[in-house]
């Protein structure tokens, strides 16, 4: 399988400038500087690259939306990796920080940006130090700063640590947090491309997305477009976790069947149990049943079965689990992380948690499932930001696909009461 991000990820000392350069690093800069910035945007558009953080929005198109002739502009790299199940950006930051810097430099050149921030979740303190070491090396070598490689292009990149809030992975909440505020989402429009950081045009991209850009500039957009499927181009880092024998981050070509990821790459189900369910794209996307294991892992195919590719976190659940427990754990998470700004999310997550908790502890009444469905309906598309919809996904999908698990716990109560 072709790899463009992980082919050398375990190379010793790849995090140093010396080794990164030996591996062909920073060659993209000269190639890019020989072109007009707009040409780089067109290359990224032609490559078919889509955002790898969760939404899957076409990257080149996002860059082309920047408000015309408004400066300064900013780049924010979203390194707030917090989606349950997702641990791919952490590996990139830890082992290949210069790849991210090169991607950020290329993006900044393409978008005429002179200041970039890397917003890392607060718990990534160690990675922030690695990143700062890499930034220092890049300045010393003239890859950052004034007049980079004699091109006349200037760029400063800074790290910025969050302080524990899942919601800051949502781009507008990230901006508020970076501006020294509470991490609450903003009303859109205006979108960040028009008014983002400090009310200026801003590009916000995920770590993995930016890390793909050097490959596109070095090898041409057609090389990237040749990978994957017709509409889902390129590769994807998939974080496989849960009940597999070999959990880990795997780079796959988009379109690889889920079965191959679970059974070949990740070694199959632990204790040779049966697969019961999987969540393909992090906790915010609907879970699906085991019979859909032959679905190709790409944006369209996963959408066709009612779920999403999301951040690329494949959570594998075997047949020893009652799904109510999974739904309860995830709801507890969303309740904890709801920022409280809007009512449906703040209240809805708590109500769902209370009902699930009662069902799980054997106090569930038959009408509780209907109540859960009703709350889901009242939250869907009615919350201020996508966190509300994310909180609905595990609950409603678990009811729709694993109703028997709910009924089993509720029937148990009735049987116990009868005795």
């Amino acid at each position: 399988m072709t790899q463009i991000l992980f082919h050398n990820i375990n190379k010793k000392n790849l995090h140093t400038l010396e080794v990164y350069e030996k591996e062909g690093g920073y060659k993209g800069l000269k190639k890019a500087f020989a072109k007009e910035p707009g040409e780089i945007v067109e290359m990224v558009k032609a490559s078919g690259l889509r955002g790898r953080g969760g939404a899957g929005f076409p990257t080149g198109l996002k860059w082309s939306f920047l408000a015309k002739d408004v400066f300064p502009r900013y780049l924010c790299c979203n390194a707030d990796e917090s989606e349950p199940g997702t641990c791919k950006d952490r590996e990139l930051l830890q082992k290949n920080p210069h790849l991210l810097l090169e991607g950020m430099i290329l993006c900044s050149y393409a978008c005429k940006i002179e200041t970039g921030y890397i917003y890392l979740r607060g718990e990534f303190y160690d990675l922030c130090e690695i990143m700062e070491g890499a930034i220092e090396e890049a300045y010393a070598k003239g890859y950052l700063g004034q007049n980079i490689l004699g091109s006349g292009f200037n760029l400063d990149i800074h790290t910025h640590l969050g302080a524990g809030a899942y919601i800051c992975g949502e781009e507008s909440a990230l901006l508020n947090s970076l501006e020294g505020g509470r991490g609450e989402p903003r009303m859109k429009p205006p979108f960040p491309a028009v008014q983002g950081l400090y009310e200026k045009p801003t590009v916000i991209n995920n770590v993995e997305t930016l890390c793909v850009v050097p490959f596109i500039v070095n090898n041409g957009p057609e090389k990237h477009a040749a990978l994957g499927t017709e509409k889902s181009k390129g590769t994807k880092l998939v974080s496989v976790s849960g009940h597999v024998k070999k959990p880990g981050n795997y780079e796959i070509e988009l379109g690889t069947p889920v079965r191959e990821i679970i059974y070949d790459l990740a070694g199959g189900i632990r204790d040779d149990n049966q697969l019961k369910a999987y969540i393909p794209g992090g906790s915010s996307v609907p879970m699906v049943t085991a019979d859909l294991v032959d679905t190709p892992y790409d944006y369209e195919s996963l959408q066709a079965i009612g779920t999403m590719l999301g951040s690329g976190a494949l959570i594998v659940i075997d047949d020893t689990v009652n799904i109510v427990e999974t739904a309860l754990r995830l709801t507890s998470f969303y309740m904890h992380e709801s920022c409280g700004k809007c009512t449906p999310c703040r209240e809805g997550t708590r109500w769902m948690w209370q009902l699930l908790q009662q069902i799980h502890t054997g106090k569930g009444q038959p009408e509780f499932v209907e109540k859960l469905e009703d709350i889901c309906d009242n939250m869907s598309f009615k919350c201020f930001c996508p966190l509300g919809d994310a909180a609905v996904a595990p609950v409603i999908s678990s009811i729709q696909k694993f109703r028997a698990d709910y009924d089993e716990l509720i029937a148990k109560l009735k049987a116990d009461t009868a005795v």
Binding site: E81, S82, E83, P84, G85, T86, C87, D89, R90, Y117, R121, G122, E123, F124, Y125, D126, H158, H160, L161, G162, A163, G164, A165, Y166, S177, L178, E179, G180, G181, R182, G183, Y198, S239, V240, S241, G242, H243, P247, G248, N249, I279, S283, A313, I315, I317, V321, E325, T326, R329, L330, F333, H336, E337, C339
Partner: protein, 158 residues
Amino acid sequence: MFAFSKEAEEKIEKILKKYPEERKRSALLPLLTLVQRQERHVNPDAMREIGRRLDLSPAYVQSVCSFYTMYSSKPVGKYLILFCVNISCQLNGCDVLLAHTAKKLNIEIGGTTNDMKFSLHREECLAACSGGPMMRINDTFYENLTAAKIDQILDSLD
């Protein structure tokens, strides 16, 4: 009275250079983080001092501070154990291990040992899902935990 350490002052100088002068409010989280790391909590005195430096009211500083889980109002132990209980870790048995850790330290989850050595907190996903069960102690991630491994890690900390 609260005062930043000399080391922290050097860091503040660098931090303030990251943001446009008229946007120095951006330094709020980084400065709160410095306080948390120095004092192991953030108290009102420190908030006032940060407000003074960034031209922010103490009330504003507190409203931001209270939003983020990594700032604590009471001092945490020398070793802050954040134990992930989210989905991937749960599927791999973190609940039993968290209970084991609490029992070993003889504290409630969320509590701190009397000698202020350990605090144990339940934590949401820390982005180490393929290494679950996992915990973070101060800045270090410990993955693929077992009861024996936890005992060994805790015993090795002085």
